[in-house]
Symmetry: C2
Subunit: 152 residues, 2 copies
């Protein structure tokens, strides 16, 4: 196996065996150096966002002191779910290698295919309604008027 | 304003004024009680996933000791980005109220419309390639064979 994917694989296996979460692992690499290797910790932390990829991005950005991981590569044992794909986009990671597919994950009991539909039309998945639009919209005017705002 | 949205709004404003991140706030409520109110902290923490909604879900799940927030309501000052929509789905939050729209956010310099396209076809946004599929696929067999696995 690729050495980085092997690290992610072994981390996934250990996390699963310790009942920390499902069988998912991820590694973030910069140049020839490992930045971090993580696993799913939804069960260990009760955090529904603690997927291997989100954990890797959070840890790498802390280690590297930047929310911009555009000089990094992500290795993940499974094709990322929509939430993790969003996190990868925000982190500007330019290259992602994945192991198993979404279909493999679905066979294992982790089916996020419907999420793709719901993210485009979330009102089909949960109650979604606008509220206080004018007052909250003003926040963006305040932001644009802020002379020391940091674009990110 | 709705009292919970007002809390989220005021939190967004304070976070922005403190240069912790963009003008985004969120509150999670259970019954008549506030669980937590959070703001975007991407700049403060260097964590690209530290959006107001993700922060709220992480904090609420820690406070309530559960990754299942299906008895909670989320108030967010802006329509959630795809990553946050994914987090809401994983957290099973059944009701979401949002303030400003994605178009308002785009006018403020935060445009995630393209993310919707990329999440369906991420290969259009970054390099994406399979690697070691057979070995990583086996993780799901190990998971299904695990007698004490906890479904989540």
């Amino acid at each position: 196996m690729n050495k980085w994917m092997k690290l992610a694989h072994d981390e996934a296996l250990a996390g699963m065996q310790n009942n920390e979460g499902g069988p998912f692992g991820a590694a973030i690499v910069r140049g020839d150096e490992l930045v971090c290797v993580t696993h799913n910790q939804v069960l260990a932390t009760n955090d529904p966002t603690a997927h291997a990829e989100v954990n890797a991005i959070r840890q790498a950005s802390r280690i590297l002191g930047s929310y911009d991981l555009s000089d990094c590569v992500l290795y993940t044992t499974c094709y990322p779910c929509p939430m993790c794909l969003g996190a990868i986009l925000w982190a500007r990671i330019p290259t992602v290698y994945y192991g198993a597919t979404g279909a493999d994950a679905a066979k294992g009991g982790f089916d996020d295919e419907r999420f793709h539909t719901f993210i485009r039309n979330p009102g089909n998945a949960f109650n979604l309604a606008p509220l206080d639009m004018e007052k909250t919209r003003e926040l963006f005017n305040r932001w644009l008027e802020k002379s020391d705002r940091i674009l990110y």
